[in-house]
Amino acid sequence: MTDVASTATRPGRSATSEMVRRLPEFLVIWVPLLLSAAHLISFSIWTIWISFTPSTLIPVTGWVGLRNYNSVLASRNWQIAFDNLLLFGIAFVLLSLTTGLLLAILLDQRIRGENVLRTIFLYPLAVSFVVTGTVWSWLLNPGIGIEKLAHDLGWTSFHFDWLVNRDMAIWTIVIAAIWQSSGFAMALFLAGLRSVDSDIIKAAQIDGAGPVRTYWRVILPTLWPITVTVIVVQLQFAISAFDLVRALTNGGPGIATQLPALVVYDLMFQRSQLGRGAAAAVLMLLILLAVLLPYAAWRYVRQRRAAHA
């Protein structure tokens, strides 16, 4: 900790000239770090503060207590967004987890062309959510996409209109999100599978365990810390999902695929309700903390246990 201080003064040099000489390094270390840290703290406090003011078109001072929160929580927009987030979050995380795990296990079977396949499963991650959303909005559009193709091919009874169906539209976001990010789960699981001690596997085989049994009883249990990480990262994405929905359904039909991030944007920049928009943003942060705080506690306990072991 005190390395810098201990060498700060050397014989024959005054402390002041030493400070001046080292000014550039202090600037280059501290200015970016302080700017970054300061913006994180002050912007959070700022947004929280705005959420308690009667701000509409511009931020104003004043105190309205929890009024903004109550009105956001009572709005149909937010209630639908929250229900959608629950459904989308759970469905997306579970499905992308299972898809990722399945792909990782298959790729772990020493198959030919593993590199090519891995490249294929991961490339959607390099593409923006705007592109993903746009492309899937074409494919899933019954008028020009998969349904139209089936009709053109003579299968006239084929029906696939989720994109414009209020009850099913949220599932189109699940589909596109899985396509985009299940490769991430696969990459982490594959790294985990590759780091399993081969002696354990051999021991299981000597004990007469078949491949399925070996996976189920020996290999998969070692993956659960990775599973937790994947779940948390994917949930973090789900909670703040914006671009994908904006490009794919824009919250529609109607407000059927509304999500919290869209509500925040709508309140702040389309309805000029800054106070309520800020309250919705803080609610988003609270949802995120409900995921991240238990995760942080879990990691802390694990690290302490590892340190003691």
Binding site: M1, T2, P24, I29, P32, L33, S36, A37, L40, F43, S44, W46, T47, I50, P59, L103, L106, L107, Q109, R110, L117, F121, L122, Y123, P124, A126, V127, S128, F129, V130, V131, T132, T134, V135, W138, I144, G145, K148, L149, D152, W179, F184, A187, T229, V230, S240, F242, D243, R246, A247, A261, V264, Y265, M268, A280, A281, V282, M284, L285, L292
Partner: protein, 285 residues
């Protein structure tokens, strides 16, 4: 379990991975094919089909002739905007992050753990918590609706990632190396330049790829802080897909989508290994 002999179960494995690979590739193939079909041809059938008349003109149209909102200059100006935002912000955030990561991991100073901890919280704080403050700050310093404003935002916010990446990498460098150099009288920058930087190629590539991909693909800040001619290409793509009239234009739109996605796709194809390393490093945090 892990042999190479060909059995029915191995055939099944190949069948399943091939099906998955086809599903992952299908959207890309569909869009590439569409980008080579005429708008009329797509309108008559569907988005999914083989080009009857190869319409290479779609790309020229998408690049420089197509109308986004009221301006008809194609997506070229927006691609340029994205480049002018992404390249400087990537360079600044990577360099500053490397120096700060080096300082935090090897130089150590009073309060370093604290400031490092706070900076990495930026990985978790949702963008929505920063939207209003950034709007106000950018307006007050006169950078609202400018590319420089977005460069500033992405540089400062990118630090959370770049400091984390570099710090975790530099922590593994033996401290003796630094101590010996300091006994020889080398200072902060000299050690960074002569010892640290030559060792940094892998982590700098990871960081640059990560930052470039993220900033290029970023949408929320782009659409919030810029309008019209100042927007990055992600925001322009959304404006472009909002139909001005009911004239079908999916062929040209597909070409625009391919052009907009090309920079990050190429980086991924050529630097895939580093891309994946960034993904996993970002996840473990």
């Amino acid at each position: 379990m892990r042999d190479r002999s060909f059995t029915p179960s191995r055939a099944l494995i190949y069948l399943i991975v091939t099906l998955f690979a086809a599903a992952y590739l299908a959207p890309l193939v569909v869009v590439v094919l569409n980008s080579l079909r005429t708008n009329e041809e797509i309108a008559q059938s569907s988005m999914i089909g083989w080009p009857q008349n190869w319409a290479f003109g779609n790309y020229a149209m998408a690049w420089s002739g197509f109308c986004v909102a009221e301006t008809c200059a194609g997506i070229r100006p927006y691609m340029l905007n994205s480049a002018l935002i992404t390249i400087p912000a990537t360079i600044f955030s990577t360099l500053l992050g490397a120096v700060a990561g080096y300082a935090v991991s090897l130089w150590r100073f009073r309060g370093d753990n604290w400031i490092y901890g706070i900076v990495t919280l930026g990985l978790f704080l949702p963008q929505q918590m920063r939207l209003l403050p950034w709007t106000i700050v950018l307006r007050d310093i006169g950078l609202i609706n400018t590319l420089s404003g977005l460069v500033l935002i992405h540089t400062i916010q990118g630090l959370s990632f770049t400091v984390l990446f570099c710090r975790n990498y530099y922590v593994a460098i033996p401290h003796e190396l630094i101590r010996a150099a300091r006994i020889d009288g080398a200072g902060f920058f000299r050690i960074f330049w002569r010892i640290i930087l030559p060792l940094s190629a892998p982590i700098l590539i990871v960081t640059v790829i990560w930052q470039f991909t993220h900033i290029w693909n970023e949408f929320l800040y782009g659409v919030t802080f810029t309008t019209g001619q100042q927007q990055p290409v992600t925001a322009a793509l959304i404006a472009l897909s909002t139909p001005v009239a009911d004239i079908p234009k999916q062929g040209v739109q597909s070409a625009a989508v391919i052009i907009a996605a090309l920079p990050t796709l190429l980086i991924y194809l050529f630097g895939g290994r580093y891309f994946v390393r960034g993904l996993t490093a970002g996840a473990v945090k």
